[in-house]
């Protein structure tokens, strides 16, 4: 009896080893768990419906292809901080050429890619042949290309772009099937298909757009190249050991140039995809996108030190970032929190990379504890930010009142801070509602640090059950959105506690083998 239990646990451990060897496994797991949680927590708003998934893909298309290009550069142990500016510049210039220089959309798009290629050549030459640090070159590029974009287009929005651009974004290739079916203009052989599309329009086909088609096709194409061609293999080799690759006779300079070229071209493609859904072109598009691209790359499991990672990992990273952003919006947090959260996630992802390289059980355990703490923090955000926001409003009101009482004159901004009695009451009620949940969840954040000093399966199980316990107040307050994070945190705590046993078992298995 015990032996079969042993065998089962062994095969589980073996599966875990194989699964976690894959760099993108972390984000894959996170996506699955988050999605399931979102689905459970938002009844009536179907999450797993194809139309919702397609919407997510459409929204991620522009940043996605940019992250894909960035993956190549990061794999070769480089970095490209200028992608956001290149995206903005090419978007603006393309729109400008169409609107004010009388270019046809095709010519303008071609020119946009030409500009992207030029930027890529500049980046690549400076980094690969003149051996300047990639960080500095592309940081300078970030500034130069954004400025160039503003200069050449006067930083004004173009008029509405011609319909052709929608062909790269918003256009729904199945729309004609539906329209044809409805007005009876479809050829006979296509009627059943048209009927099928029409029946499932709202649930499935409404959001099927060119954006996601191009997005997925791009990744399929890029993944095939990176995994199966000499170029892909040399990119990995250069990222892993550049001098070793050079000693093996590989022309490292040329290949590095190619990665930068490809990255900037991807930025141009991202611009095109964005224009496919945007009403006009403007030179301030894509600001801060380099951060999101790098975040997606790192979250997807690609190591910033080079040589390790996959394109599909980046794809998952992009989706995960979008999911988290959607989640934070549903949790009634201001969009600025997305910046804070994205930054924290980048830190966590890099931490995971470092821990993974060290292959140490203790470090893995501590890292997972920290991630669980981050989950508690994300759940803590909703009540805490609501409380803090109201507290600030009330506090500013009383400060303004005091100034008035002391006879001072109020500036316009200060007098805006004065609240009506009803507003004050509302805010104070918000504070009252949220103070205890904030304290409890804040306590949970602190408590999740305890296992760092007292690691032990009992402690871990205890804290994990605390996570589950905290679901209750969130459910009562209808802050359902924090609940998935708490569930994820609970999983992580439990897994964390089991880490030393799993590592030991894994070591025994490989020694026996």
């Amino acid at each position: 009896m015990p032996s079969t239990l042993q065998e089962i646990s062994d095969s589980v451990v073996k599966f875990l080893i194989k699964f976690f060897r894959l760099e993108c496994s972390g984000s894959l797991l996170a996506i699955v768990i988050l999605s399931i949680s979102i689905e459970l927590v938002t009844p009536g708003k179907p999450f797993f419906h194809p139309s919702n998934i397609m919407t997510i893909l459409n929204n991620s298309a522009a940043i996605g292809v940019i992250a894909g290009g960035m993956t190549l550069v990061v794999l070769s142990a480089g970095i490209d901080l200028s992608v956001g500016s290149v995206m903005g510049m090419t978007a603006a210039l393309t729109g400008y050429l169409v609107s004010f220089w009388g270019f046809s959309p095709g010519m303008a798009i071609f020119s946009g890619f030409g500009i992207g290629a030029l930027v890529g050549m500049v980046n690549g030459s400076l980094v690969a042949y003149l051996k300047m640090p990639a960080f500095i070159v592309t940081l300078a590029g970030l500034s130069v290309w954004r400025g160039t974009g503003h200069l050449t287009t006067g930083a004004r929005a173009t008029p509405k772009l011609p319909e052709t651009f929608y062909g790269f974004g918003r256009h729904n290739p199945l729309a004609w099937l539906r329209d044809g079916f409805q007005d009876g203009s479809l050829p006979d052989v296509l009627i059943p298909l048209g009927e099928f599309v029409d029946e499932n329009w709202i649930t499935t086909f409404r959001t099927f757009q060119m954006s996601l088609i191009i997005f997925i096709a791009f990744f399929v194409f890029l993944a095939l190249i990176v995994n199966n061609t000499r170029f892909g293999r040399y990119v990995y080799a250069i990222g892993s050991n550049e001098s070793g690759a050079s000693q093996a006779g590989i022309n490292t300079k040329a290949y590095k140039l190619m990665t930068y070229l490809f990255c900037s071209l991807s930025a141009a493609l991202g611009a095109l995809l964005f224009l496919g859904r945007a009403p006009y072109a403007k030179s301030d598009y894509g600001q801060m996108w380099e951060l999101d691209a790098i975040a997606a790359v790192v979250i997807g499991g690609t190591s910033l030190f080079g040589g390790k990672g996959t394109l599909w990992g980046t794809f998952l990273g992009v989706i995960l970032l979008k999911l988290i952003n959607n989640g934070l919006t549903l949790a009634q947090l201001e969009t600025f929190w997305q910046m804070v959260v994205t930054g924290i996630i980048i830190l966590i992802a890099v931490g995971i990379d470092i821990v993974r390289r060290s292959r140490s059980a203790m470090k893995t355990q501590k890292m997972m504890t920290v991630i669980a703490m981050a989950m508690a923090f994300f759940a803590f955000l909703t009540p805490a930010s609501l409380y803090t926001h109201s507290w600030i409003v009330v506090h500013e009101h009383y400060s303004a009142e005091e100034i008035k009482l002391e006879g001072g004159k109020l500036a316009r901004e200060q007098s805006k801070r004065l609240q009506s009695v009803r507003n004050l009451e509302t805010h104070e009620e918000i504070m009252f509602l949220n103070i205890w949940p904030s304290i409890f969840l804040g306590g949970l954040v602190v408590a999740s640090l305890i296992p760092l000093w007292l690691p032990g399966l009992v402690v871990y199980t205890g804290i994990a059950s605390l996570f589950l316990f905290m679901v209750i107040p969130l459910q009562i307050l209808a802050y359902k959105f924090g609940i998935p994070f708490l569930i994820l945190g609970c999983f992580l705590m439990l897994a964390s506690g089991l880490v030393p046993k799993i590592f030991e078992r894994a070591r025994n298995i490989s020694v026996v083998n």
Binding site: I225, N228, T229, R230, F231, R233, Y234, Y236, A237, G239, S240, N241, S243, G244, A245, Q247, A248, G249, I250, Y255, M258, G306, G307, K308, R357, R359, N513
Partner: protein, 261 residues
């Protein structure tokens, strides 16, 4: 048969290398015969690595001649030396740790289905099969060929580097401190592989600080000191003390009864 064994595969005449004003190598005359294993020994800075770099095309000598298989050669690039069948296993191994074994063995020389330059399609199946055969040939056991090298022990990685050299280096293999970072068991494994290379009649040059290893493995010991070759000793006709005397330049007579190995 005997004639083949005595024929010279590598000869350097008066090989000299100056770096600006520094004389790193002066008048090195060395002969290597087929099926012979020699060791190059010497203190740090004696010119061993310089010599190796100059005969493998990493650097070009200031003066002197190199003959490989009785032909005068001048290597402008390491690739040219490799094309003639000379392979080097560097001290830093020159392996890509994040790639797996077949990728490393074929690094720079991949098997492809059709040639489109950088976009040639890799024939991974063939490379895996050939790697398996190569590893079997050299007697190295690696359970999982898809594992990245970073997950393997130092000894296994060294073995992969040597297999790579043995697989491509049909004519001459040079090893720079092959077991410097390895433990006793792994050193043993690597030395067995080197012995198997001798059985296959592949000439090998080993640079080593480990005199015990040198005496165990090679036929002849070439001693460098201060950029010059100061002695060539047949292993079975010399002693550790004699070798050390030549390395340091100090007569070790007083230490006759002590062992340095």
């Amino acid at each position: 048969m005997d004639d083949n064994d005595q024929s010279i595969i590598l000869e350097s005449r008066g090989l000299t290398k100056h770096y600006g004003g520094v004389v790193a190598l002066e008048g090195a005359n060395l002969i290597l015969r087929k099926a012979e294993h020699i060791a190059i020994v010497g203190d740090n800075g004696a010119g061993k690595s310089t010599f190796v770099r100059n005969i493998t095309g990493v650097e070009q000598p200031t003066s002197g001649e190199i003959f490989f298989e009785d032909q005068k050669v001048q290597f402008a690039l390491p690739k040219e030396a490799r094309n003639m069948g000379i392979e080097t296993v560097y001290q830093n191994l020159a392996l890509a740790d994040q790639l797996d074994v077949p990728a490393n063995i074929f690094l720079g020389r991949e098997e492809t289905f059709f040639n489109l330059g950088p976009f040639s399609w890799l024939n991974k199946q063939l490379m895996r099969k050939r790697s398996e055969e190569l590893l079997n040939d050299t007697g190295i056991k690696i359970p999982d060929l898809t594992q990245p090298l970073a997950e393997m022990s130092g000894g296994q990685r060294q073995c992969v580097a040597i297999s790579r050299a043995a697989g491509w280096g049909s004519k001459l293999i040079i090893m720079d401190e092959p077991t410097a970072a390895l433990g006793v068991q792994e050193t043993n494994k690597v030395e067995n592989i080197i012995r198997s290379l001798k059985e296959k009649r592949v000439p090998v040059i080993i640079i080593s600080h480990n005199l015990r290893q040198v005496f165990d493995l090679v036929d002849r010991i070439v001693v460098f000191r201060q950029g010059r070759i100061v002695g060539e000793l047949d292993t079975d006709k010399t002693s550790g003390n004699e070798v050390i005397s030549l390395i340091t330049g100090v007569n070790q007579g007083g230490n006759e009864n002590k062992s340095y190995i």
